[in-house]
Subunit: 344 residues, 2 copies
DNA sequence: GTCAGTTGGTTAAACGATTAAATTTCTATT
DNA sequence: AATAGAAATTTAATCGTTTAACCAACTGAC
């Protein structure tokens, strides 16, 4: 691999001049510039970014620490991050905590896993990344502030209790409210909920939105209309069965995610009822399954890629020393309207 | 940040000695070792990997170039890669070509996209990675050999026409054969196929396996039993409809992926038929949907994580100068048996 | 007491860039 | 023609490591 020294030799100038040509922030005569460029072409010279990093004390690399790359929203978030960073000439050093296996559907404070997390952060810090993006698997508030490694840190999909750390998530509450409104606007009076686990922060935010939509239409929420699931297909099926056995069964069901909504479908069809004629169903997450059900499931699409893009943007601003205008950004979701809900 | 120089100063030795302590490949007296270690503790010194990389001409970073991080198998593959590399102290620099948007379900030779690909490779090469893993989205043969950037390169999920490049994929043919055997063993005589697009390499390999299983049981494959879909739910539905309208409808259907199998389900149920009593269905890919259908879909799980692990392993071997024993590895899939197929 | 061998440690030259400061070369003004 | 000022270029220090080569001190053997 050619070095600047060789380029300098070939074009009869000093390495400094070669550097000046390349950086373009010093005057160089047209004549020398051309000679240098020729030599560069000729030798297929590429600047050694390692040497540059050492000298400049800046790697142009951002560490992305993901709780689990296999978590559903994670690839899209990383995609968004990658795209924004590329635009500014940064690269992504990826580190995977592989938490999914360890704490699937558990919502303890992350602080219990500080060991794993800070080891992950340290690894990135050792690589001298310019900044770190922490990508959580579930939207939640992170209370145990991570050991400050002295590198700018922002959160995707989680909100930090440390106000100095920026974060970008999506608006659970509002989205749940909006999709529930779809049902109230269709004149449904008996709307039931299949929630996620009661101790999940996501469940609680979506529950708030659901309640608000009902309130807006002065609809009651009898306790027997709230069923607790575990995000999985089977819990959706079982809880729907229970709902349909009530003396006043609901005419619409909001399942807090799509697999549970699929469970709804199964329970409803097993009883010979039709969707949406007899009962409406809406879901959340817009997983692949939503378009593979009959009829297509109306649901909420999360702005995952946008979250990634925005959080990268936020970090870049910090790196440029700009003050962050909004430390905690919450992006809106998009309602995906299909055929699973209809006027009563 | 503390440097070796400061450590040396604090412990009254030269930087060389500090380096020797850290690397452990030179003798150092217990006394000095302790003094140095103390100073390191005290200052919380961390070795500057950038400087080390420059000096050693080795970054301990592997570039992972993915065709699209949002492609279904990709996160699991990356997970496997990450895990293997971590075990050997390497880190992952991720680069995303974002091809999904550009060529979804098109199977032209990658050579048409050499521009995009070689730009991606160049970016990683510029970062001075020690090796590159190319992660394709669909199992296929890559003919246009990528510009050799002088960095060891291996393929995941694709096989290269260049024998010098290692590769790891999964065994489409054999897996399709095995899952079809499940049907022949259950005494089915009329087995139909819902294939992917005819020009897809994946389709063709799975077709070979399907044919072989039928041959083994001396079953015929009438042309009207082969239906071409496009991997999507709707094509599964339509093609199954066509199958069920035949004078001799099949008693079992192999859909080449799970969304199309979900389409099968819809068409079958619409006619009031039962799965598996009236007709058996099997799929491929083990997507989330497979466990959200009723009855659960018997399908094939791809060894994605294992592919990642193996391909990383292969690259590491190359980096250590070892000869690669098997340049093209093909890993077996796992049959996931649920309730969608039964004895006739 | 001399000498060879070992052990523990230092010196100094890399690695390949950037950049402030110094120096040379060119332009323009008188 | 002399000279001040601007423009172009070079010199040399620096970033934080690694490591070959060198050196001093010590250990035994004779």
């Amino acid at each position: 691999m050619a070095t600047m020294k060789e380029i300098a030799g070939l074009s009869g100038v000093s390495v400094a001049t070669v550097s000046h040509v390349l950086s373009g922030k010093k005057n160089v005569s047209d004549d020398t510039r051309q000679r240098v460029m020729q030599a560069i072409e000729l030798t297929n010279y590429k600047l050694n970014t390692i040497a540059k990093s050492l000298r400049m004390n800046k790697t142009n690399i951002i560490g992305v620490l993901v709780e689990d790359i296999c978590g559903l929203p994670v690839p899209e978030i990383v995609d968004g991050i990658n795209q924004r960073l590329e635009e500014s000439g940064y690269q992504v050093l990826l580190s995977n905590l592989r938490l999914l296996q360890q704490l699937y559907n558990q919502y303890e404070q992350l602080s219990q896993y500080t060991g794993v997390v800070s080891r992950g952060l340290q690894l990135l810090a050792d690589a001298r990344v310019d900044g770190i993006i922490y990508v959580a698997m579930h939207d939640r508030r992170i209370t145990g502030v991570h050991q400050p490694v002295g590198i700018p840190l922002v959160y995707a999909y989680a909100e930090s209790s440390d106000p100095a750390c920026g974060s970008v998530t999506y608006d659970n509450e509002n989205s749940a409210c909006e999709i529930t409104r779809l049902l109230t606007w269709q004149a449904h009076k008996h709307i039931a909920l299949i929630a996620g686990p009661a101790n999940s922060p996501v469940t609680n935010r979506r529950l708030l939105g659901f309640r608000q939509a009902l309130d807006e239409s002065s609809l009651p929420l009898p306790t027997e209309y709230i069923r607790w699931g575990d995000w999985e297909y089977h819990s959706g099926l079982e809880q729907t069965d229970a709902l349909l056995s009530l003396t006043i069964p609901p005419t619409a069901i909001f399942a807090m995610n799509d697999p549970m909504a699929a469970g709804c479908y199964a329970a409803i069809k097993r009883r010979g009822l039709r969707i949406p004629e007899d009962i409406s169903v809406v879901g959340f997450d817009n997983r692949e399954i939503a378009s593979c059900l009959f009829p297509g499931l109306t649901t909420v699409a999360l702005p995952n890629k946008e979250i990634g893009y925005a959080v990268a943007q936020q970090l870049l601003q910090r790196l440029e020393g700009q003050a962050i205008e909004t430390p905690n950004i919450s992006l809106p979701c998009r309602i995906i309207q299909r055929e699973s809900s209809g006027r009563l």
